[in-house]
Every structure is written in C-alpha cells, then in structure tokens.
Amino acid sequence: MSTTTTLTAESRPGLSPHVRLKQDRARGGWVLLGPERVLMLDDLAAEVLGLCDSAASIGDMADVLAGRHSAPRAEVLGDVIEMLQNLHDKGLLIV
C-alpha cells in the first residue's frame, strides 16, 4: 500500500491547511511554518510557494518563472517539480 503521490506538470499544489508562508522580518526572507517545523526559504523557493494556490498547475508556474527569469522552461519545470515533491513528501503541500 503506497500512498505517495507523484507530482507532475498537471498537479495543482497548495499549502497544507496547517502551513503558513510568512515574511520573517527579524531574520529577513520568507519562512514556511508548521507546528514543529520552520523552513527558511531561499528567494526562489519563496517565489514558487507564493504561486502555490491550488489553482495554478506546476506547468503554469513554470511558464511564469521561465518568463520572469528568462530561463529554459524545461529546466525550470524539472527544478520546481523536484522542490515541490520534496515539500509534499514532508506533508507541507497538498495537491
């Protein structure tokens, strides 16, 4: 019985209900907050998570990010999926 979900370009991730994305004024940058977890985010991660609204697909997000950073879309897509899969496995994202 494996219940692991594999994210794809079609997945529409959102933050899990108990997770908050918050600007951290004392330390600078953004953090992802859960009950026993505080994840300091780098700029890119914060940007990606800001797009996770359960409406946009990961493909849509890759379009936006590739445009903003003038980077190859395929590469961006791969990076974003990897990052979000990791957060999903930690229970921080829902799809």
Binding site: S2, T3, T4, A26, V31, P35, H88
Partner: protein, 371 residues
C-alpha cells in the same frame, strides 16, 4: 558573549492545572498554583514582546491550557501578532462548544496526546477514566472542522507494543503528523523511570516499525520519533541548543531556557512581570549560563559535534550527575555513559514495573482543575 539570534518559538505553559495525572508529565514536581498564574493582559504583552523579538510560533501548553478561560483571547492575540499558533492539549475538555471559538480566533494547529490505543490502558496511564474516548471524539471534531492535527503518542514500556496500532489510529483519525514521543526522563518521568523505560530491543524494534511506516505513509502522515536517549550514542540537541531557539514561560511568568531548567538549582530565573522578554532573552542569567560553547569542559570542548548537539541536555547532566555543566551522560563519550546504560538495562529488565506515582499537587493543597 555575542548577542543571540532571535528565538524561534515561545512555549507558553498557561497553567499547571490538568485533570489528568500522567506519570511522565514534563511539569516540575512542584506544580505552580492558580493564584500565581499570569493574568490575560500580561500574557498578551509578553506575546507581543515575543513577536517583536522575532519568534514565529507560539505553543500553548500546560498542564492543560484549556482550563484557562481566556485561551481564546490569547490565541486571537497571538494570531493578530502574526505568530503560528499551536494548541498542545490532552483534549478531554475540547468539545463542540470549545472548538469553534478557538478556530475563529485563528488557531493554526492542534496537538492531542494519546496514552495508548486501548481505552482501558490509556485511562489507567492518565489516571482519568473515560479520557481516551473523549480524546478520540475531540480529534475527530478537530479534523471535521478542517483544522490540522498532530497526534502525540507518548510511548514507554507499558504501551510500546501497541505502536503499529497507534500509527494506524493516527491515520484513521486523519492526523497529518504523528509524534512518537518516547518518554524523556525529567520531572515526573524521572521519578517514574523504572515503571516506564523500555528495553533496548523494544526501542530498536520501534525504530524499525517507524521507518517502515514512514516509507509507506509518505505524503500522508509525517512521523517524528523521539527515542529514549539513554540508549543513544550521541545526545539530542536539547531544545536545539540551550537558549538558542526557545523561551519557555511557566504559568507564573518565569522564563526558562527549557521546561526542566528549574532542576538546576544554581540558575537564577527572571520573571516576565519584572523584566521585558527581550532583555531576558539576551541577558538573563539562566539563558546566558549555557548558551553557546564557552561553558563546555572536555570531552565537549574539543568535540566536532559541539555546535550540532550543544553538549546535549543540561538538565539530564544535572539530574544524573549532579553537575549541570558536564557532558550529557547520554553521550557515549561521557565517562558516565556506561553507568547510565547499566541503569536503563536493569530497570527495564524488571519483570513487573513498579506502580506509577501519578502527577499531582502536593498533599493538602489539591488544586481542582475546572473547565
């Protein structure tokens, strides 16, 4: 000493009152009285101070935080201050009437402790008949309301055999996270150690069960596992390092670097009634004493792990060795580690564990917990 970074979280022990009597309760043996508890306005001021210091989370705990009638006001205040709010509760007072206002106040997360999967044994361990059924009901209520839930399963030799069932129960209840918290030996748990400590084999078995469940439930249930460190090779980074991440406030307003810190008699604690929290964080004697690495003696002083585990737990060094500045005896590099291990082996091998000494107020001064 250089100024510390900002604290991550405030652990707010709102009260030491609790209807339950868990023999491993992390509260000190000398429980604080209701007449000494901080009032609402003081808690609210301290919450603001914590937020402006840079704290990101607040954990409302106790005792049983729900016996405080101002809990909703405090949650609302913390939420407005931008803190992530977590309620750590036994849940026996959490019902259809109490939950909605908490949720409206902005509560982010609820953590419910379970004593076992079998109602009868769970109620015996908590010293509270009917408690287990109430907890299950409350857990379902929390999930039904769409709130996130952690199950905190406190495990020891008298329930560890039910770990697989506990994992299933957490899934069935819809928890996003399960904390398999094997008892750590401070406060009441230290007093009851011989009744609680599992054998090393039982612990390794539990580690395997958790590893398999983690893999199987990836993306569905996060499992955190705290193992009894008597059997470890290296100690845990207690509180993420002394006075590096947490401020623990007792019901009467004493600021502690760790909930067990009062076990160290030579520390002087400040009270938030007398001093702003920021000053306490930076300058309080109790916080400064073991912050960083300069207090360390060998083997910690020259150890490459000194900024990983920060020398382990000061309170355990105190409790076991009578010296709070010694290397945590849970560390295999401590000369006292073999003795600790021997003690764990002897106590856990007792065929019949001794009777529990239930957590309670000292006699003749019983403090009834009212909802």
């Amino acid at each position: 000493m250089t100024a510390p970074g900002p604290p991550l979280a405030l652990l707010a022990e709102l009260t030491h009152r609790c209807p339950l009597g868990c023999p491993y309760c992390s509260n000190p043996l000398a429980l604080e009285r209701v007449r000494d508890e901080l009032d609402t306005a003081t808690w609210q001021r301290v919450i603001d101070e914590a937020a402006s210091l840079g704290a990101l989370q607040i954990h409302f705990s106790g005792g049983e935080p729900m016996v405080r009638t101002d809990l909703v006001a405090l949650v609302a205040h913390a939420h407005a201050a931008g803190l992530y709010t977590n309620l750590i509760t036994s849940a026996v007072l959490l019902d259809e009437r109490r939950l909605p206002p908490l949720q409206e106040a902005g509560l982010d997360h609820v953590q419910i402790s379970l004593q076992d999967t079998l109602a009868e044994n769970a109620d015996r361990i908590a010293g509270y008949p009917g408690g287990h059924a109430k907890k299950l009901k409350a857990a379902r209520l929390v999930r039904g309301a769409g709130l996130a839930l952690t199950i905190n399963a406190v495990m020891h030799r008298q329930n560890l055999a039910h770990l697989p069932e506990m994992i299933e129960l957490a899934v069935e209840l819809g928890a996003g996270r399960l904390e398999v918290a094997q008892v750590q030996y401070y406060g009441w748990a230290l007093k009851n150690r011989a009744s609680l400590i599992p054998t090393r084999d039982e612990v390794s078995q539990a580690v395997k069960i958790v590893a398999a469940a983690r893999e199987r439930l990836k993306g569905r249930l996060v499992i955190d596992h705290v193992v009894p460190d008597y059997y470890a090779k290296r100690p845990k980074a207690c509180m993420g390092g002394w006075a590096r991440q947490f401020i623990n406030l007792t019901p009467s307003g004493l600021a502690l670097p760790c909930h067990a810190a009062q076990g160290i008699p030579q520390l002087r604690f400040d009270n938030v009634r007398d001093r702003p929290l920021g000053e306490i964080w930076e300058h309080s004697d109790a916080f400064e004493r073991f912050r960083g690495t300069s207090w360390m003696a060998e083997p910690c002083r020259s150890c490459e792990r000194r900024e990983i585990d920060w020398g382990g737990c000061r309170c355990q060094a105190m409790a076991i060795l009578g010296d709070a500045a010694a290397t945590d005896p849970a560390c295999a590099l401590s000369p006292h580690h073999p003795a600790l291990l021997a003690l764990a082996k002897t106590e856990s091998a007792e065929a019949v564990p001794p009777e529990f000494a239930y957590r309670r107020y000292a006699k003749a001064e019983v403090e009834p917990a009212s909802a």
